[in-house]
Symmetry: C2
Subunit: 514 residues, 2 copies
């Protein structure tokens, strides 16, 4: 669109484009094309119309928006985001995590073949000569690339960064095309289930620290799922696709998933029914016992998975998260790279937004073991077993925002506002600000030369700044200034020469009384 | 390249591609094409050859690298980066900044026409249907878009985020295609030079807090530059291009810049000489006085600029940064959007890396006033005057890394390592870890079931973990554990039941003695 702007027959050109685009959309609808494709083309059409419209087209202005599925964070949101991220990072650090950073884009080949059906959601960069790049889709694949490239044998790392998915955004449900992930992963050859259990403990610690009500951490094991498919008579090359059907059980009823298995994937209805018996079970250690006495134990794969599950549940209990962990056979997780334990944390609480509407939160963390991913990047196929968890921090932001909807959130940390009571005190004000800044006092002042006292004091009250220093002619002559406690509007005269000391004293006093 | 992998005649296909690409490079060289273009094509050729090579091609493995001009940050680098960023953010907060975040990409049109000749360095996303997007090139243009879109009238915001430029990377000089910027900007209608001077104070505060030696903050004013061009007889429509020649004075001698003006831009040699007289001047308030008595004062534009400079220098002096500020007529800054004060901080110190080689650091911060940028995004052309500064944090990272090259940097914050002295104590260990985590003690342990005591204690010493708890059979029976101070290897028995208390006491003791 950029090259259209500025041409003399801009409007005609746009109208022609709208005609062509409109025809394209109609054709797609007639052809009953994929819904997503139609939506994309409709969006292009809307963009063209917007550009033509009076609001923007006539002044040659841009469409003023952020890209589809993205948003700006306002200062209030940032303050909340910071506090949520700090809580998450605190837990990661409590468990000994170090942090790394990787580029926002990778060679496209690094991402290829890692995400199954979801690969279509990857953002590609334009080929501008040079390498073919894509925006990262998650933090796990770049981490595996990092481990292989650096020939790392063990690392316990966390990473907080944005990832990109060309998904259908749903802002109201906190689903964006650009969003944060907070990952903790353990790479290295260790004894079974110890790091796996610690990942679950980390999820529990984080969700507990958020104080957002009840949650369940569902756990399952790829080998148990594979064993189920095996004993139910699914052909081996159908495991992955049947698994991705099972993955839909959190959103669809069993009847629908069954229909998909039989009608779309040609599974024998008897096999589907047998799978259905298993995947609707959940429980604790007693479920492991029960399953060992079923046909499932005939599969050595399932047997291995059940042994692992027994150990995992034992370690989880020792680490103090028995109530929240549920062994759930319906948990499948779509990603191709998982090889062992998989888990997902689901919020049970229902939170209401400011309009009184329910915020659907669903899954807030997920992860699992992926022992073969690093090997895919290593020239000698050297595997480094990994297990990790990803926190769905955007949903936690949404919940916190809803919780704090009626609370005033401070967006700056300013401690003192330096105000002037009369005109011509700008120079004195700057000198005083300098003194406070040089003493590490967080200080603001008006950017007007001769601001009104009232508007300066109002600014303090609006921004929640705890203290104000008021400079006045007569006070200056006496060698004093006024120190005002904003909340109580109480003022005392303090010596200009010991102002920094008085301010620090007062700040400590206010902090202590909170 | 992705679609090549997995095909049966992969090798043949690659060889054909290499042939085609080799021909392309030879042709470009014969045609004496632009050096950059040739380099890009050579790089593609190299990538193809690498893929074919034994190391990767034969196993079907990927080229294991990060995209050109980007890098991973290792845990040690992240620890340094965190401490540098914290210092910068602390200063931003000290001056009352709030923070926002914007998406990593913008509608391409948002960036169009803002960067002059540098627009070719913008990364575009592939058109995958939907909007046409580009990665952000700086944080200033997205900020202006934000201010216009949110109809913000005043804001003092900082933002720390990565930006993207398809520049020729020079890793050794700390120049990357993906790099951090730390920006502080003040938007709003205020009195002249007050926020401008505070931006300079912020640069001074940040560079002082880094403790990296001497620096100069060069200041100039677009109106003074325009006035110079005016009185030297440059045609008005040539101002921008002559200004971008002047901008090269930090890297090229005057003679070369003059040659460019005359030969490439057809400037009258007399005009060029007159410009040369001015742009080689620098100084303080006395230079403002001196210039007012030259031909420059005949230009009302220059006169305005000089008045502004006088006020700026005065405010800078009041805020306590007189020594480091230098009024420098050669400072031009390339970006199109500046309208008033411009400034740039340059490091004077020479730092050596571990090989004893000098690290060239050059400019570490820059900024200026841009009063018309927000209006470019507003449908009613409503202007919001802005001034801001961008800290070149990557260079500061490089310097800090060089300074700390021989120092051991801790990458985790772990306080206690829980070790076991014999076999079969894994369960006790997990219970004890749980207790410490639940008491907010940063705790690590081995992920092996029965690790050797020596290797556990070595791990503490390597990672710099201050305390170790050693669990042993006989101690457990007595209801005690050993608490070991890693640095001194001193061990004391403490009651298992009051372990958390003993640890916190010991940690405080160690902190106090540091």
């Amino acid at each position: 669109m950029a090259d259209i702007q500025g041409t003399s027959n801009e409007r005609e050109c746009l109208m022609a484009q709208i005609k062509v685009q409109g025809d394209r959309v109609r054709k797609l609808k007639e052809e009953k094309a994929a819904k997503e494709q139609i939506l994309e083309e409709v969006e292009k059409l809307k963009a063209l119309k917007l550009e033509l419209g009076d609001e923007s087209g006539s002044t040659g202005k841009l469409i003023l928006k952020t890209p589809k599925g993205t948003r700006d964070y306002q200062p209030e949101q940032m303050a909340i985001r910071e506090s949520v991220l700090n809580k998450v990072i605190k837990v990661f650090k409590k468990h000994g995590g170090v942090t790394i950073d990787t580029p926002v884009f990778e060679l496209k080949d690094v991402l290829t073949g890692k995400y199954g059906e979801d690969s279509k959601l990857i953002y590609d960069l334009k080929d501008q000569g040079g390498e073919i790049l894509s925006l990262r889709y998650d933090l796990t694949v770049p981490f595996a690339r990092y481990v292989a490239m650096n020939k790392t044998s063990t690392i316990k790392r966390y990473q907080v960064a944005k990832v990109y998915r060309r998904d259908n955004p749903s802002m109201s449900r906190g689903r964006y095309r650009e969003f944060y992930q907070c990952d903790f992963d353990v790479a290295g050859q260790f004894d079974p289930m110890i790091p796996d259990a610690e990942c679950i403990k980390i999820v529990q610690d984080i969700l507990t620290s958020m104080d957002i009500g009840n949650f369940v951490i569902k756990v399952n094991h790829r080998q148990i799922l594979d064993g189920i498919f095996e004993v139910c008579g699914v052909a081996k090359d159908m495991f992955r696709t049947i698994c991705s059907s099972v993955d839909k059980l959190d959103k669809s009823p069993w009847e629908e998933v069954k229909r998909e298995m039989i009608e779309e994937k040609n599974l024998d209805p008897v096999a589907a029914d047998a799978i259905g018996e298993f995947v609707r079970m959940n429980g604790g250690m007693e479920l492991v016992d029960k399953l060992e006495s079923t046909s499932l134990s005939e599969s050595s794969t399932a047997k291995n998975g059940l042994d692992s599950m027994r150990l995992l549940l034992k370690y989880c209990a020792l680490m103090g998260c028995p109530q929240s962990v549920s062994f759930d056979l319906s948990l499948a997780r779509g990603l191709d790279y998982y090889t062992g334990v998989i888990f997902e944390a689901v919020l049970m609480a229902e939170v209401r937004d400011e309009k009184g509407e329910l915020i659907q939160v669903g899954s807030v963390a997920g992860g699992g073991r992926y022992d073969k991913l690093v090997g895919m990047f290593d020239s000698k196929n050297r595997d480094v077993p990994c297990v990790g968890v990803s926190i769905g921090i955007e949903r936690l932001f949404s919940i916190m925002e809803a919780n704090l909807a009626n609370t005033k959130v401070r967006t700056s940390e300013t401690e003192v506002y330096v105000a002037t009571a009369q005109k011509n005190l700008c120079e004195e004000r700057l000198k005083l600000c300098r003194e406070l800044w040089d003493s590490d006092v967080k200080t603001e002042h008006s950017y007007k030369k001769n601001p009104k006292l009232l508007s300066q004091l109002q600014e303090c009250e609006i921004s929640g700044i705890p203290l104000a220093v008021v400079i006045g002619e007569s006070e200056l002559q006496k060698g004093v200034v006024k120190l005002r406690t904003v909340a109580t509007r109480e003022e005392t005269e303090v010596l200009r020469s010991s102002l920094v000391h008085s301010i620090k004293e007062k700040l400590n006093e206010l902090k202590a009384s909170q």
